[in-house]
Amino acid sequence: MMKTTALAAVALLGVCGSSLRAEPLTLDFWSVDQDGQYAYGMAKAYEAAHPDIKVNVRRVQFPDMVNDLARAAMTGNVPDISYVDNPDVALLASRGALSDLTGMIAADKTIDMESFYPGPRGAASVNGKVYAVPRGANTLALFYNADMFKAHGLDPDHPPQTWDEFYAAAKTLTDPAKNVYGLAFSAANSEEGTFQFLPWVQMAGGNYDHINTPGAVEALQFWQKLIDEKVASPDTLVRGQYDSTGTFNAGNAAMVVSGPWELPRMSRDAKFDWRVALLPVKTAGGPRASALGEGTNVIPTKAKHPKEAFAMISFMNARMPTVWNDFGFLPASKVDVPDPKWPAAYKVFATALEDAKVRGPSPDWVKISKPIQTAVQAALTHQTDAKTALDTAQAQIDRVLKK
């Protein structure tokens, strides 16, 4: 039916050459966002600027995105644009599910890959080809309850700088009688667990492909100590970052490791003086590290309107300076954010982003991440010691990487 109409319209155009308008073109846009977030906000703005285009946003659950894109590739019902989480770009690109954007980006004046931070840039490219345009970034930092710092004789203007100071502060702040843990974080059996653990490994000189180095073992032992001494709740193993931060907001944890996405909720729920600091480093002067979160916009291989899709991606990229204030994540490129909300927090997160490393990239990222989660949980529950747990993970990771 639609086809007939379109044909008729084309025929009419050909015959009388008038400026008869065709139906607006519809771009399908898949994202993991909720109403009012990035994809919805951008769709609205784009439709306003381009009345001839309609953007149809479909929400996909975060853990389902790769599955849905793979299935869609099979049926041919792919979206024109989709959100893809950073570590998944390599997988999808290696399986031919994503369009190579290198040429289009080169021809485009507004997207400069060099302007992105190294983390997001690394996530978007595979073997020198660009398959994705970062839409934003987030990272981890330390939120702390300044009121509790004062109450326990700690200086809220000097948050802990090293792991030792961090541990000491957490220990001091822990107050079982008042149901307060010194620290909250997430060691859940999911990607969030890997996301939170890797920075500590990286600060100690390890990485996902060197997960059993002495430094990495120390990092895991450090986490072990936090749980063993009940400085952090044992439920850290089953709580995601959102629920962990919830306990901080409710005053049941004095510090929490989390990201900028928490800022709106924290401003609403946390009835105390909360502040943000960079994650402590292993020893003074040691290397910094943080996790890289958020994702990219991609065009699936079989997209029906790749050219229009790219135009919209370019439009969205041009609005990078607004993502902090409008959607609560960091710009992925070095742009100036005029008048940022929560300016102090913004400064800390923007600094942390400089050292944020992408997970992988590897087309088999999930098969690397899973053993890491299992190792962390095995050690934290003392089913094995930290060294053995990480050795086991390393063996599994080696098998994946050598394939």
Partner: protein
């Protein structure tokens, strides 16, 4: 006197059992901070209730309608396809009946989450994904049918055979005996099984999530997952949505239950 003592005990047991249901309502009334707070509060301290916002803001009328379409479709299909089979399997004895029962039970084995992939491939080839709600009905029927047959079979097996035989001796057809003797006598089992199938299909999640991509055709349980984002889980919203979803069904069921389950005691004719 003893009867009222039993009632008191019954209320105690039911109350204890329904505590998780109470917890759902209590959580729906708490704000984010109170949900995670400890020690937990048994009664919401600062209750607030945004039914309207959740109901209309989350497009619940459309979701619920789609769930209803799926549930009615599945239940109707299951009753039409399965009742006769359950009857035959409940009546006949022998090796082939064993084999059939075995086969039927086997068809129920795999969780939907594992069956959905091959079904998706097949439905795609058959072009069924263009009518996604029908696709979900067909898939969920295959899931519910074995369950229905197995339960109804037990009921038919309990129907006294001599009544039916008497009818046959009187010269009635077996089809007539089936409709007028066996089905009415097994009606409690059939009803209960049908209700269970209906409720299960109303809450179907896996097939709807994978096969329905148009939000306007999506079902209520999938709509619920919209509260879970990559970095957020809006428990207050989830529980409010869930309370809106559960309460009417629960009320209808308690009202209907007089007919359904209370009729059980008067069920057997002997």
């Amino acid at each position: 006197m003893k009867r009222y003592l039993l009632t008191a005990i019954g209320i105690g047991i039911t109350g204890a059992y329904l505590f998780p249901l109470y917890w759902m309502y209590a959580t729906a009334l708490k704000d984010d901070a109170e949900i995670v707070q400890y020690p937990p509060t048994l009664v919401p301290q600062r209750p607030f209730w945004n039914v309207g916002e959740v109901f209309f803001g989350r497009h619940m009328p459309s979701y619920l309608w789609n769930s209803l379409v799926v549930a009615v479709g599945v239940t109707a299909l299951v009753i039409v396809l399965g009742t006769g089979c359950a009857y035959v399997l409940g009546r006949a004895r022998g090796r082939w009946v064993d084999a059939l029962l075995f086969f039927v039970l086997m068809m129920q084995v795999l969780p939907s989450s594992l069956v959905v992939t091959p079904l998706f491939v097949g439905f795609n080839l058959a072009g069924l994904l263009g009518t996604p709600r029908l696709a979900v009905i067909l898939a969920q029927t295959a899931k519910a049918l074995p369950f229905y047959v197995v339960i109804c079979r037990a009921s038919f097996a309990g129907v006294p055979r001599d009544l039916e035989e008497a009818a046959l001796v009187d010269g009635h057809s077996r089809l007539a005996a089936f409709f007028h003797i066996a089905v009415p006598l097994a009606r409690n089992g059939i009803l209960v099984a049908a209700v269970l199938v209906f409720l299960q299909s109303f809450g179907e999640y896996v097939f709807a999530r994978s096969m329905i991509s148009d939000d306007g055709l999506q079902t209520a349980t999938v709509g619920l997952s919209a509260f879970l984002g990559p970095n957020t889980s809006d428990w207050h919203g989830i529980m409010t949505y869930s309370a809106i979803y559960v309460t009417p069904i629960l009320i209808i069921f308690v009202l209907l239950q007089r007919r359904i389950v209370a009729g059980l005691t008067a069920g057997a004719i002997k």
